[in-house]
């Protein structure tokens, strides 16, 4: 597992499988085949292994010491938050353009999983920031736009919870999700302008660094777990939507 190329191939294979499965889910096929359970089990195995490696195998970070190990939770959750919310926005557009109920269920589940990821991201971020920067919070563009994004999507979830009519709820959730994405993007640029230079330099380093491999392993583990949670949650949402669906029309009676 220490070969990054192997990791990449592994990850790409997993992503491809999940995408294929998701497409088949959207198209209504594979109803009885709970493919996400396999993805989830795979993710669980990877996260156990990845965290073990992060906690015990990875070299102790010199500047931050043991605290640096939080990186193996923090960075994957950051990547996954962005990825999930990107997909939320895509699902929302797909719903508004097609009106297919499955996209509404996907929007709902991906926002929920995304918000959990974002909260994990910020909690680990604060814990990370205290020993390294000396503060729990800094007005960095990344931090501010993440907070704004989380707030916007929490707002969408609350909006969703107060609406009763399924059609209206679906449309409004998608509208809210698109607005939230837009707000996150513009906030990032504006806060960047506010604090333009606040970034740190990178130096070209060897890619075969053991940390990179562990980080990647964790990122894929988080990815698979997220796919599992979203797919699972979508199934619940679809089942609920079906329960809400119209009962059969009463039979005709001659007048």
């Amino acid at each position: 597992m220490s070969n990054p190329d192997l990791m990449l191939a592994f990850g790409a294979g997993g992503v491809a499988t999940a995408l294929l499965a998701a497409i088949s889910m959207v198209r209504g096929g594979l109803k009885s085949f709970r493919w996400e359970a396999y993805v989830g089990a795979f993710g669980l195995g990877m996260v156990l292994m990845g965290q073990y490696m992060g906690l015990f195998v990875a070299p102790r970070e010199r500047m931050m010491g043991e605290v640096g190990r939080i990186l193996y939770v923090h960075v994957p959750s950051a990547w996954l938050t962005m990825l999930i919310f990107t997909f939320t926005c895509i699902f929302a557009f797909a719903f508004l353009m097609s009106g297919k109920r499955i996209f509404d269920s996907l929007v709902e589940s991906s926002i929920e999983v995304g918000v959990i990821m974002a909260i994990l991201l910020q909690v680990t971020g604060s814990l990370f920031a205290k020993p390294t920067w000396g503060v729990y919070w800094d007005w960095d563009p990344r931090l501010v736009s993440t907070a704004v994004m989380t707030l916007s999507f929490v707002g969408v979830l609350i909006l969703r919870s107060v609406l009763d009519d399924p059609d209206r709820r679906a449309t409004w959730t998608s509208v809210g999700a698109i607005l939230a994405t837009l707000s996150m993007l513009i906030t990032y640029f504006s806060v960047r302008l506010w604090r333009t230079l606040h970034q740190m330099q990178s130096s070209p380093d060897s890619v075969s660094d053991p940390m990179v491999v562990i980080l990647r392993a964790n990122a894929f583990a988080f990815l698979f777990l997220s796919i599992f949670f979203i797919a699972w949650r979508t199934r619940i949402a679809v089942a609920r939507a079906q329960a809400d669906e119209a009962p059969p029309l009463p039979p005709e009676v001659p007048v």
Binding site: L96, V144, V148, M149, L151, S152, G155, V156, I158, L159, V162, L163, D167, R168, T171, W172, S174, V175, G176, I178, L179, A180, L182, S183, I186, T187, F189, S190, V191, L193, W194
Partner: protein
């Protein structure tokens, strides 16, 4: 062309309604005035007051705008006029742009009325010129009005709307508050490094993105039967 005409008719209707019942917009003004007084108590010294004058103006306006946006849609809900417009039929785009324009105008009006009060209460350095200041105010109010109108349309038709509007709106307009306060403060102090242009450009961009996207999103909310 009819779209423009109908948008203007909707805006005219909103402004006429405010004109006939001026106590509403006056209420918004005094709400904002009270906020400005209260903000001052939170400041440790008066020097700080003059530094944050631009920021408080926009923060107060943001809080006050939730009231005026909420009201503007409550008027439509009172006798089902919102549905009446859909069935009339007024195109949803005309409804959105008309209402957003009226809201922007009202906010601008409140801002202009508040400016002298900010000057008196907070003693900001005033090295700026009036046209640029007006430009910042107009851009900022337009930028608050577009997403605000859309979010007010959402929240007013949902349960527990009074809490929902700020919750949905504040994250959306963080860039407006940052850019408008920054531009106002820098401009008033005398913008010798010409940084105001960047902030105004950001406001223009924000306006473009939201005035384009929110109109389409509004048609989607208005179209659900």
């Amino acid at each position: 062309m009819t779209l423009l005409k109908q948008s203007l008719a909707v805006a005219y209707k909103d402004l006429l309604t405010e004109w006939r019942q001026p106590s509403r917009i006056a209420g918004v003004f005094f709400f904002c005035f009270a906020l400005l007084l209260l903000f001052a108590f939170a400041m440790p010294n008066t020097q700080m007051l003059s530094d944050i004058a631009g920021g408080t103006l926009w923060l107060g306006l943001l809080l006050a705008s939730t009231r005026s946006l909420d009201q503007s849609f409550h008027l439509e809900m009172e006798n089902g006029a919102l549905e009446g417009m859909v069935l009339w039929p007024v195109p949803p785009l005309a409804m959105f742009y008309g209402k957003a324009l009226a809201n922007a105008l009202l906010l601008t009006l409140v801002t202009l009325a508040l400016t002298p009060l900010v000057v008196v209460l907070y003693h900001p350095v005033w090295n700026g010129d009036i046209p640029t200041f007006l430009g910042i105010v107009a851009l900022g109010c337009l930028a608050l009005a577009a997403p605000g109108t859309l979010v007010a349309a959402l929240s007013v038709q949902a349960r527990g709307s009074s809490a929902l509007l700020p919750l949905l709106m504040f994250p959306l307009v963080v860039p407006v508050v940052v850019a408008a306060s920054k531009a106002t403060t820098l401009h008033l102090e005398g913008d010798i490094m010409s940084q105001v242009d960047d902030w105004m450009r950001l406001l223009v961009m924000f306006n473009l993105a939201h005035w384009a996207l929110d109109g389409w999103l509004f048609t989607r909310i208005a179209e659900d039967g």
